[in-house]
Symmetry: C2
């Protein structure tokens, strides 16, 4: 992939891959597991894990390693260095207040939606929501509206690499259906995800353009499905999202 590319630091790539190898399924890794997950040799993986531990990003009980809160500093480097979440927060809060539901700002990152902000006065919608959390783009309203604004080549690449999981009975898994939903989102200028990600969770999202007209962000409101029909979301929440989006776009 990056073999023989000039000015590339392969050791950084491998080190970041080792950090990313930790996940919910394997919160602790021993050296052999880390080697398997990253494709590194055991000796290499061991060196990276020891280095992370020495730098304070991981700790070890002897044989197993786990990450420490210090790795949040890396994500924090992004949050503190971009004015976007700060600029957007009042608008996200305002949408949350006007709709009485949870509003969110998110970006698309490869095949996942990553949250950049939530309204502060939130009601409980889903089990776990926080900045940095990410969901599969194929079954989120946010993912569809951002994808709809990408080039055909980018969408084709997204679909080509896609291995969609059926997260609920409502989750589309056919690439054709997913593509059609993305196209529909482009036509409508919004998208609704109705219990595709999680039973009981219903979301509506709009894309957000920057000053060059590019779309890398989306705004969404999410709620418990029993609280409002899709039709009412379109009638009552979509206008609030669009108004918030218009205001945010004057700041980008």
């Amino acid at each position: 992939m990056t073999d023989d590319i000039k000015d590339h630091v392969g050791s950084l790539e491998k080190g970041l891959a080792v950090i990313a190898a930790f996940d919910g399924a394997t919160p602790r890794l021993n050296v052999a597991q880390a080697a398997r997950k990253t494709g590194l040799t055991r000796a290499s993986a061991r060196r990276y894990l020891l280095t992370l531990a020495r730098l304070g990003y991981a700790e070890s009980n002897g044989r197993q390693f786990q990450l420490t809160p210090r790795v949040l500093r890396l994500g924090y480097a992004y949050l503190s260095s971009t004015p976007l979440p700060k600029i957007a927060q009042p608008i996200v809060d305002q949408i949350g207040e006007r709709t009485g539901e949870v509003a969110s700002l998110a970006a698309l990152e490869n095949d996942e939606v990553v949250f950049l902000g939530h309204s502060t006065t939130r009601r409980l919608v889903s089990a776990s929501t926080s900045v940095g959390l990410r969901f599969s783009a194929h079954c989120t309203a946010l993912g569809r509206v951002i994808l709809a604004a990408q080039s055909e080549a980018d969408v084709a690449r997204f679909l080509a690499d896609l291995q969609p999981e059926k997260l609920t009975p409502h989750t589309r898994t056919s690439v054709t259906d997913i593509h059609a939903a993305i196209i529909q989102a482009g036509r409508d200028g919004f998208s609704v995800s109705d219990q595709e990600l999680e039973i009981g969770l219903r979301s509506i999202a709009v894309p957000v353009s920057d000053s060059h007209g590019r779309v890398k962000l989306g705004l969404a409101v999410s709620l418990q499905a029993g609280r409002m029909s899709v039709a009412d979301m379109i009638a009552n929440i979509l206008p609030v999202l669009r108004a918030g989006r218009a205001e945010l776009e004057t700041m980008l």
Copy 2:
């Protein structure tokens, strides 16, 4: 520092230092700035920035680099891999509901407090609160209660490296005063930070022990100073924190 240490990957250390060089003061870095901030040569810094851009962790407008949301994945690797925030969330929520204020869970990381979770049904207390956000430990209740449970050597090291900023007129900046406040927190088993971090912000915190009796975490409630006196916080909120702490400790 780590020169001549076995099994150390220096390139990973340098790469992570480059990521951490981005902050609120310098959200965008050119090659020369990154070199100065990290102590690397310009050529080295350039290689790391190009590598981060190639891997999608940064982007460049030609000469200036900025981080992308992808670096949140690194922090997310911690959040998704540790059960702690998931386990603690119901308790943090419960504290938030019982007190009607914002409850938080945090860890101490060197000289800073880093938030690991907030109660979901939150009222607006401070401008910006999210997981991963960090504050100076010397003027937070959370920082003091966690520090109070560390070894004398660790506290001495903390104080030796401290360069306290006067964030409000109430912020202690004398190392002697800061040390005394840490000792008092140890005696009391709790601490109150009264507008030391931010005008209008008042917090009370308790330390949380793990099953080995070590303290790496704290639980806190924060509120607008006008809403409750310090005496009332001690009388009414401290018991709720202690109850929540007792419950959380059974799970650690």
